[in-house]
Every structure is written in structure tokens, then in C-alpha cells.
């Protein structure tokens, strides 16, 4: 049984003060004018948010948890929560991407060679490099081990051939970490490696995918003779699946914090909206608002419990599936409620399909129960690995 303690230690209180002071001094000018802009998966106000990322880097706020030797502060998970919380309170522009600092970075610290840490962590910590994730392929979504992008050795380089899809912000990014097959004879999870590849080379081409809200946050990424140095493999060659799983684990850890903050603000806005529209006196709406609010509290405490476990054990287990399953389903229901509360304003769209925030949120919320692991996959994980239910029959060894 893990006890959650929400009081700041004197060290944490000083840290919180430091964050607030820095934000007061740096969330100014154009950054201040664009408070609250952006969202976890959105290229809204990209240039500004890109610049904010560099500003955070200059302030030493990226890679907080990394060892000092690599540009971090060795900050505790608790302090990382404090940082994210204070940024959300101040309505700093949303991080343009946390792929580098919250996902690949911790994996580099954990699995990387000294050389790799020295080469890649500084760019992450400064905010100068943006990273994207190359996992999914057209024929490999939930079934990650079935990836077909391959890499073969050619002298002192890997040559990469294949195609990734749903590369978040791909066309904006400098580097990609991709799951590729390095052993053609390997079956499923055997023979996969995580390759670090420079996106800005002729052999890597991105093509944006238009989503149903007319956004372009995802790309197809084509590797055709793309090259990367032989030593740009994170973790063991042919042993990359474990590293991929670790990345996904980080995806459900601190990388998820901005979502929680966003949801809390969204809930406040929904209640304000209900009051403005006179729906707060409607008994049916009140029930639904109360349900939504209760759901948010559950989400919040579940997150704290999960992060406390992370602080104490250093690792997140399959229970992190609870979080994703829960918030995705909760947020979809909330976006339905928002649309109903907005009434007529939710139904009309301006010229050139100009959506307002709630309309966009409603449309893209369809994707939340799909990306980052579908609801079905998470329930499977919970069923098999947390509840110990009989495993579903595995597919036979399938040809590549």
C-alpha cells in the first residue's frame, strides 16, 4: 500500500518557488500573449511553441530527471510533477513535443552508451532537437512486432528501408527513433532494434496525413536508403523490443502529466460553460457534470498513485494501462458533454472548416481511445498481466 503525501518538503517548496519565479520572468511578451495555446498532439502555434521549448531549455527545465552529468538536475518525479503543474497553472504554451525529453531521453539515460548520451542528450536538454517516434506501420499498429521496416549493415552504417505511419509531428522533427528489423531471421519480437535516424536526409521523406478535424499532426515517414551510423542503435542490436516497451512505459508515466493538467482546466471551462448556458440548473446536466467531475478526481488520484509507485520503484508496471484506458474513455465522454452544452455553437463551423476548440476536441477525441494503445489492447494487458486471466491464443509464428 503506497501512501501519497501531497505536502511539499522544504526542498520541493523551494523548487516550486524557483519554477514560479522563472515563469514570472520568462512567460512574457509573445509567450504570455499565447498562454494556453496548443495541446498534447497539436501543431497549433508551432513556431511559437518551438521557441518556448528552447526557452525552457535555456532555463534548464528540460530533462529535469536526468543525472546532472548529462544536463539534467537529478530532480525527483515529485519535482517533475511540480514543474508540469506550475507550467499548467501559469498556462504556459503546451510543450510542442515531449518525445525527446520524456520518452527517448529517459531511455537514453537507461539504455544508452556514454557516447550516445553525450551525442544526443544535450540537444534534448537544450530544446534544439525535436524527436519523433517511428513505431507504427501501415500493417503494424497494435501488433508492433510485425513491423517490416528493415535495416542492413553497409560498412559503418545502417541502411534503412521501409515505411512508418502516424509519426507525430514528423515533418517538424530533427530525429526519429524507430523500431526496425535488423535480423531478417528473427521472429516477431526477436531481431528488432531501435535505430536513431536523422530525419533531415534525402533518404527520409515525410508526407502529412490530414485528419478529420483538418489537422496535420501526423505523417507517413518513408525510408528509402536512409542512413545512420552503426552505433546509433539504442540498446542491444536485435534486442530492441525491450527498449521499445520501456519507451511505451515512459509514455504512460510523466509524459502523461500534461494531459491531466489540461483536463483539469478543461473541466473548469465546462462548468463555466454550463453556468453560462443555463445548464447548471438542468437536473440531467447536473448529473452528467457531477459524473464528469468525479471521473476527473478518480483520474487525478489514480495518476498520483501511479507516479508514487514510479517514485518508489523506478518502474511502471502494467497498471499504467489503467491510466490510459481511463483518461481516454473519460475524455471522450467529456467532449460529448461539451458539445451538448455548447448547443448551436457546437454545430456550426466557419469558412474553410474553421473549428473551435471544443469541436476540434470532439473530433480528435475519437483517436484518444486508439493511439497510445487501443482500449482493447489495454483491457487485454490488464486482464492478462494484472488480473492473471487466461491469455488469449497467440498468433502462430507468422511469416514476415
Amino acid at each position: 500500500m503506497v501512501t501519497m503525501d501531497f505536502r511539499d518538503s522544504s526542498e520541493d517548496a523551494a523548487f516550486r518557488e524557483e519554477v514560479r519565479d522563472w515563469l514570472a520572468d520568462h512567460l512574457v511578451g509573445e509567450f504570455r500573449e499565447n498562454r494556453g495555446r496548443g495541446a498534447p498532439v497539436s501543431d497549433d502555434a508551432f513556431d511559437l511553441r518551438r521557441e518556448w521549448e528552447r526557452e525552457l531549455g535555456r532555463g534548464g527545465w528540460l530533462g529535469l530527471g536526468y543525472p546532472v552529468a548529462y544536463g539534467g538536475r537529478g530532480a525527483s518525479v515529485g519535482q517533475q510533477i511540480i514543474f508540469t503543474h506550475e507550467c499548467a497553472k501559469a498556462r504556459a504554451p503546451y510543450r510542442v513535443s515531449v518525445q525527446g525529453s520524456e520518452m527517448l531521453g529517459p531511455c537514453l539515460v537507461e539504455f544508452g552508451t556514454e557516447e550516445q548520451k553525450r551525442r544526443f542528450l544535450p540537444g534534448i536538454v537544450s530544446g534544439d532537437s525535436l524527436w519523433c517516434q517511428g513505431f507504427s506501420e501501415p500493417d503494424a499498429g497494435s501488433d508492433l512486432p510485425s513491423v517490416r521496416t528493415r535495416a542492413v549493415r553497409d560498412g559503418d552504417e545502417w541502411v534503412v528501408t521501409g515505411q512508418k505511419v502516424w509519426t507525430t509531428m514528423g515533418h517538424y522533427c530533427d530525429w526519429i527513433y524507430a523500431v526496425v528489423r535488423t535480423d531478417p531471421a528473427g521472429v516477431r519480437t526477436e531481431g528488432l532494434s531501435i535505430l536513431l535516424v536523422d530525419m533531415r536526409q534525402p533518404g527520409v521523406v515525410t508526407r502529412p496525413i490530414r485528419n478529420i478535424a483538418n489537422g496535420r499532426e501526423f505523417d507517413e515517414t518513408f525510408f528509402d536508403g536512409a542512413r545512420t551510423s552503426l552505433d546509433n542503435v539504442l540498446g542491444p542490436v536485435d534486442g530492441g523490443f525491450r527498449v521499445a516497451m520501456a519507451v511505451l512505459g515512459f509514455e504512460r508515466g510523466t509524459a502523461v502529466l500534461p494531459y491531466q493538467m489540461m483536463f483539469e482546466q478543461e473541466m473548469d471551462e465546462v462548468i463555466a460553460l454550463a453556468r453560462r448556458r443555463g445548464a447548471s440548473t438542468d437536473p440531467v446536466m447536473r448529473q452528467r457534470l457531477a459524473d464528469a467531475w468525479i471521473g476527473l478526481q478518480v483520474l487525478r488520484y489514480n495518476n498520483y498513485r501511479k507516479l508514487t509507485a514510479l517514485m518508489n520503484n523506478g518502474l511502471l508496471g502494467p497498471e499504467s494501462s489503467f491510466s490510459k484506458l481511463y483518461w481516454a474513455s473519460w475524455h471522450q465522454r467529456l467532449s460529448n458533454l461539451e458539445m451538448e452544452l455548447m448547443g448551436p455553437a457546437s454545430e456550426l463551423v466557419g469558412e474553410n472548416y474553421e473549428l473551435n476548440l471544443m469541436q476540434r476536441s470532439f473530433l480528435v477525441s475519437r483517436a484518444e481511445t486508439i493511439y497510445g494503445g487501443t482500449n482493447e489492447i489495454h483491457r487485454n494487458t490488464i486482464g492478462e498481466r494484472v488480473l492473471g486471466l487466461p491469455r488469449s491464443p497467440r498468433s502462430p509464428r507468422s511469416p514476415r
Binding site: 497494435s142 451538448e340 448551436p344 463551423v349 469558412e351 472548416y353 475519437r366 493511439y371
Partner: protein
């Protein structure tokens, strides 16, 4: 029973013209001329308007059956507006039906149309395809009026599906076509008729969406088998199909009752069911499609965005309230009769 030949002809016309590209293009361009011409050339927009009034004849059931087909194909034209709705108003007022596309003012709470000595003033909201039609037909102060769209100021807007839903302002326009609306032809009657049109469209879209989802789940392979092989996905497929079957049924029943006489109970119930079905089925369809369903290049969104839009047209939260109030007012003993006999039981919705 609607003629199979009519359904097949309509289906052929829409299948040929409502390609993914054309439906998508209509969002940007606002008008799909080829789709309209194909439908108009076989008289589809004027079904249910009596031949004596200049329409194509046929029943409300026929019109709804054609709307089901139109909904299947996401046909981006004012089909319901021209005949079933505006055509009905014009015919009851003895006004000319014409041969061009027309639209009807649905009647939103925020509208403020008024007649002052045959001059029409005020603003109407969410008027389908106002910018592209020949005439805008409205019920104002107990009169049926028809005004050329060119005489109005039009502010363009669309619904979530990119279908034109314009804001129309009439600056004291002299109305040449005006007639008293007979008894029973009022804003509430229009609301029910409009709701019925949406139920028809939604029934078609739900069926097309269910079929496409089942097809996709059988093609898409993960973990060495079609994703339709997983029970969790099958649950979504079943949900989609159930909802489509239900709404198809209630569309036909409420249209049939509308032809026989009073159908307010059936239509209110049908719209409520269609609205809930749209919510559940779109959720299931998108989930079963995975990431592919989130792209513009895959046609699922042409159907799901229409379902979300049509759900909000002619009613949304009004129907549960009205049905609930009617049931409570009629008392517990009247409830079974209402369910068994519908409007024929005398329940007042």
C-alpha cells in the same frame, strides 16, 4: 411499400455521383451540381409533393425511402429541403413548386423573422444550402413565404459535416409568393417533418457505416488474423449493425404512420432513437477502424460527421423531454396503449 425500382434507381444515381472525391469537394465548393442534376433528372427531390401541385407524387414513405438511400451515399444536396419540407409548405399554400433546388428555414429559437405588410425582415439561422438554392421557403406569422435567395444577405456557415447551413438576413424584402398556411401547417409540424427527414438520412448513413466497418474489420489484419476475429472488435461490429437495423425500422414505421395520419409519437421516438444510435454507432465504428478512421482519405468521416450533424438538427434534447412529458401527462394506464398503438392511441406529443 416503396417501389424497389425507385430505390434501385436512386441508389444507382447516387452511387455514380457521390464518389468520395465529389462529396469531399462539395465541402469546399458548397454545391455539387452533378449530384443534384442526377437526382433532379429522375424527380427524386419532389417525391411526396402531389403531382397536382407540380410535384412528382408518391408518399412520405417513398420520400423517406429515397432519403435513406441519399444518407447511405452522403449525398451533399438539399434533397429533403426541396420536396419533403419546402415543397410541402409551398403545396399547402398553393404556391408554385418549380424545378430548381429550394430550401426551408428550419426555425431555430434564435430566429426573428417577421412580416410587415408583405415585407419580410429578420434573420434565420442554419438554413441548408441557402447560398445555392433558387428560393428560401419559410413559415412566418402563419404565412408560407418564398423568397429568391438573391434577395437575402447570406452569411456562409456549415455544419460539422461541411454541409452549408447559412445565416440568412432579409432586409425588408417584398414577398411576391405568400399564402396563408392551412391549419396543421405550423412550426411544430415542420419540426416533426424535418426530424423525420433526418431519421431517414441517418438510417442510410448508419447502414452504410455498419457495412463499411464490417468490411474493414474483415480486411485489416493484425496478430496474424483479421481484426474481426477478435471478440472485442466483434462487439463493435454488432453494435453498429444493431443500431443501423433499429433506425432503419423506425424510419420506415414513422414514415408509414405519417402517411396514414398522425405520427408525432412515432417521429419523436424515432428521432430520439436515431440520435442515440448515432452516438453509439459512430463510437463503435471509429473504434473498430482504429487510426485509419481518423484520416480524411478514408471515407468513414463522411458518414460519421453527417451523423453527428444530423443528430443535432430538428430536435436534439427536445424529443426526450416532449415524449417524457406526454407519457407522464397521459398517465400510467395509457403507456402500454401508446407503445402498442403509437399516435393512434391519442397520446399527445
Amino acid at each position: 411499400m416503396t417501389d424497389d425500382l425507385l430505390i434501385q434507381t436512386a441508389d444507382k444515381a447516387f452511387a455514380a455521383t457521390c464518389t468520395h472525391e465529389r462529396v469531399q469537394a462539395a465541402e469546399a465548393e458548397g454545391w455539387a451540381g452533378e449530384v443534384w442534376d442526377a437526382a433532379a433528372s429522375i424527380g427524386l427531390p419532389w417525391i411526396s409533393v402531389p403531382e397536382s401541385a407540380g410535384g412528382a407524387g408518391g408518399s412520405v414513405s417513398d420520400a423517406v425511402a429515397v432519403l435513406v438511400v441519399a444518407g447511405r451515399h452522403a449525398a451533399p444536396i438539399p434533397l429533403a429541403e426541396t420536396g419533403l419540407l419546402a415543397g410541402w409548405l409551398l403545396a399547402t399554400g398553393g404556391l408554385a413548386i418549380g424545378e430548381k433546388p429550394n430550401t426551408v428555414v428550419p426555425g431555430r429559437p434564435e430566429d426573428d423573422l417577421r412580416l410587415e405588410h408583405d415585407r419580410l425582415t429578420g434573420t434565420a439561422h442554419r438554413v441548408p444550402w441557402a447560398r445555392s438554392v433558387d428560393r428560401i421557403v419559410a413559415l412566418v406569422d402563419g404565412q408560407v413565404v418564398a423568397v429568391p435567395s438573391g434577395a437575402a444577405t447570406i452569411d456562409r456557415a456549415t455544419n460539422l459535416a461541411g454541409e452549408p447551413r447559412d445565416t440568412v438576413t432579409f432586409p425588408g424584402v417584398v414577398v411576391d409568393e405568400i399564402a396563408p398556411a392551412p391549419r396543421g401547417v405550423d412550426a411544430d409540424a415542420l419540426r416533426f417533418r424535418g426530424a423525420l427527414s433526418r431519421v431517414g438520412l441517418m438510417a442510410g448513413a448508419l447502414m452504410a457505416m455498419a457495412e463499411r466497418t464490417v468490411a474493414y474489420a474483415n480486411e485489416r489484419r493484425q496478430f496474424g488474423r483479421p481484426v474481426a476475429g477478435f471478440q472485442a472488435v466483434q462487439a463493435h461490429l454488432v453494435r453498429c449493425s444493431e443500431e443501423a437495423a433499429l433506425v432503419d425500422l423506425v424510419a420506415r414505421v414513422s414514415a408509414r404512420e405519417a402517411d396514414r395520419g398522425e405520427a408525432r409519437f412515432e417521429i419523436a421516438a424515432a428521432k430520439l432513437l436515431a440520435d442515440e444510435a448515432a452516438r453509439a454507432a459512430t463510437r463503435a465504428a471509429h473504434q473498430a477502424h482504429g487510426a485509419m478512421g481518423m484520416t480524411q482519405e478514408y471515407p468513414l468521416h463522411l458518414l460519421s460527421r453527417r451523423l453527428w450533424s444530423w443528430r443535432a438538427e430538428y430536435g436534439d434534447s427536445a424529443w426526450p423531454r416532449r415524449l417524457g412529458r406526454a407519457a407522464v401527462a397521459a398517465g400510467p394506464d395509457a403507456l402500454y396503449r401508446a407503445i402498442a398503438e403509437g399516435s393512434g392511441s391519442g397520446i399527445a406529443v
